[in-house]
């Protein structure tokens, strides 16, 4: 492990397409150790796909991804699984296993990967649940949880193996302001208290601004802009301005491609 490098994850010249659709081309990105990095962009630019590429659930056509200085395409299956254990991932809808209780969901990675006794597992699980404020919900089933609570449980689960990289895939979607505030606070606290690196994929400009150290705006398959949230807000690029200020029309057009309006309406009538 290369501790000299500040760059925990490096993406170089990434090219990835799904069928005929090119999703990334010439994508370059660096995620620094210990920081909270945000990946932002309009819907459909493939932010989630990027996460999958980093964890090698998907394989790029071209380009390299380095995690801690190691090219992940050179890893064997075992090494890959070990690498994945360093990541903790919070999925968009929590992705809790529906047939297990909250406690069992958080305990899942421990039971699968470690030989800890039941007592120790109980200790760890309850601690993590306490950190997210849900120790009292340990015996509930996922179906009984609200969206915000489910996401917090998923966070506890993502934390349970003490990963050094935490990935949040759209963690703010569909939450009420209070839950959102809770998650934001947790993200910051976890990152600093546990000395880990966090990656947030989101399009929620406001929330990200309050928590990220560095942001990357992804559009058209590559990085359109990067910098701290305040830097981005003052950016001059039209695309960045449209995104950061939530303007309805701009480089990302309002109108989906369609034939000429007058022709379509009047042409029919004229028949």
């Amino acid at each position: 492990m290369d501790h000299h490098s500040d760059n925990l994850i490096e993406i170089k010249d990434l090219k990835y397409s799904r069928g005929p659709r090119v999703i990334f081309e010439g994508m370059n990105l660096v995620i620094k150790r210990g920081e909270i990095t945000a990946l932002m962009g309009p819907s459909g630019t493939g932010k989630t796909t990027l996460l999958r590429l980093i964890t090698r659930q998907l394989i790029p056509q071209q380009g390299t991804i380095y995690v801690d200085g190691v090219d992940i395409s050179t890893l064997s299956i075992t090494e890959l699984y070990q690498l994945r254990q360093r990541f903790g991932m919070l999925f968009q809808n929590g992705a809790l296993l529906t047939d297990l209780s909250v406690f069992e969901n958080v305990a899942f990675p421990l039971r699968e990967h470690t030989k800890l006794t039941n007592r120790l597992i109980r200790h760890v699980v309850l601690t993590k649940l306490h950190a997210v404020g849900l120790r009292g919900a340990a015996d509930m089933m996922p179906a009984q949880l609200s969206g915000g609570m489910a996401r917090r449980v998923a966070l506890a689960r993502a934390m349970v193996m003490d990963p050094d990289i935490l990935i949040y895939d759209e963690p703010f979607v569909g939450l009420d302001p209070i839950s959102m505030g809770v998650i934001v606070r947790l993200v910051r606290r976890m990152n600093d208290a546990l000395d880990i690196t966090s990656i947030i994929v989101s399009h929620d400009v406001e929330e990200i601004a309050s928590v990220a150290d560095r942001s990357f705006l992804i559009s058209d398959g590559k990085v359109a802009a990067s910098g701290s949230p305040s830097e981005l807000r003052l950016a001059e690029s039209e695309l960045v301005r449209q995104f950061m200020h939530g303007m309805a029309d701009g480089p990302v057009a309002f109108h989906f491609k369609a034939p000429d309006y007058a022709e379509q309406l009047l042409g029919r009538d004229a028949e």
Binding site: T55, Q57, Y81, Q82, R84, Q85, F87, M89, F91, Q92, N93, A95, L96, L97, T98, F108, P109, E112, H113, R157, M161
Partner: protein
């Protein structure tokens, strides 16, 4: 015309490709089987319960009535030859060799197969399988293999239970209702039915169990992760299992004759 040929070629090659993937998937499931049986037997037990014990009600009720119908039909047909006493033989052969394995397999596909497919499809649609992969847990061995094994183990037992209850059903109808001599009923059966017949039935139910479980798990795993996709996977499970079971039944029966 050229387009038609092109379409046929595409469909054909797609079919072959899927078929090949299907076989490879089967090998993949098999490769994990020994390890799962040894290290995670608890998961398998859970699934035997889900596929087997929970199917008991429908299997037993169906078995009873199929046996009863065999009694009625068999009696009226055999009566033409004055051979009512052979109703036991008639029912035993019918149940143990054919109806037991086949009908159980079809019912299994309907009850347990669809449950498996929809459960797995739903787990896929809600990212649970992805989450497992991210947590460095192989979803194939953790989720799919136990369910596959649960079905394979449960099927032969279900078929045997079906046949047994079926014979009781026939007994009830023939002996109690139609006054066939109880001694003749069982005696004739015992003199004619052989352990080989039982074995043939068991063999069939094992093969059908493998088919039904594999198809269900495959459809679930490959379902399109939407509500519609999962629904379709469930339907396909029943249809494809039914066809496969009936085709294999024909082949096996022809072979064994």
């Amino acid at each position: 015309m050229k387009k038609l040929i092109r379409d046929m070629y595409d469909t054909g090659s797609e079919f072959v490709r899927t078929f090949g993937a299907f076989q490879l998937f089967f090998l993949r499931l098999l490769s994990h089987t020994p390890r799962i049986l040894v290290t995670r037997f608890d998961l398998v037990v859970n699934q035997v319960f889900n596929s087997g014990a929970l199917s008991l009600v429908i299997i037993m009720i169906s078995g009873l009535f199929v046996g009863g119908v065999l009694g009625l039909q068999g009696y009226s047909n055999l009566a033409r030859f004055n051979a009512e006493d052979s109703i036991g033989v008639f029912a035993a052969f019918g149940l143990v060799k054919e109806l037991g394995p086949v009908i159980t397999a079809l019912l299994f596909a309907g009850r347990a197969g669809t449950a498996l497919a929809s459960e797995i499809g739903l787990m896929k649609a809600t990212d649970q399988l992805s989450a497992m992969e991210m947590m460095a847990v192989n979803p194939v061995s953790r989720v799919l293999v136990p369910r596959f094994l649960g079905g394979v183990i449960a099927m032969p037992f279900l078929a045997a239970i079906f046949s047994m209850i079926g014979l009781f059903g026939t007994h009830l109808v023939a002996v109690e209702l139609l006054s066939v001599d109880v001694g003749a009923f069982w005696q004739q059966m015992q003199m004619t039915v052989d352990i080989d017949d039982i074995n043939e039935g068991i063999f069939k139910s094992i093969v059908f169990g493998i088919l039904a479980s594999h198809i269900a798990v495959w459809e679930g795993y490959n379902a399109i992760p939407t509500a519609e996709g999962v629904g379709r996977a469930t339907t396909r499970t029943v249809v494809i299992t039914a066809i496969a079971v009936l085709v294999f039944d024909f082949v096996i029966t022809a072979f064994m004759l």
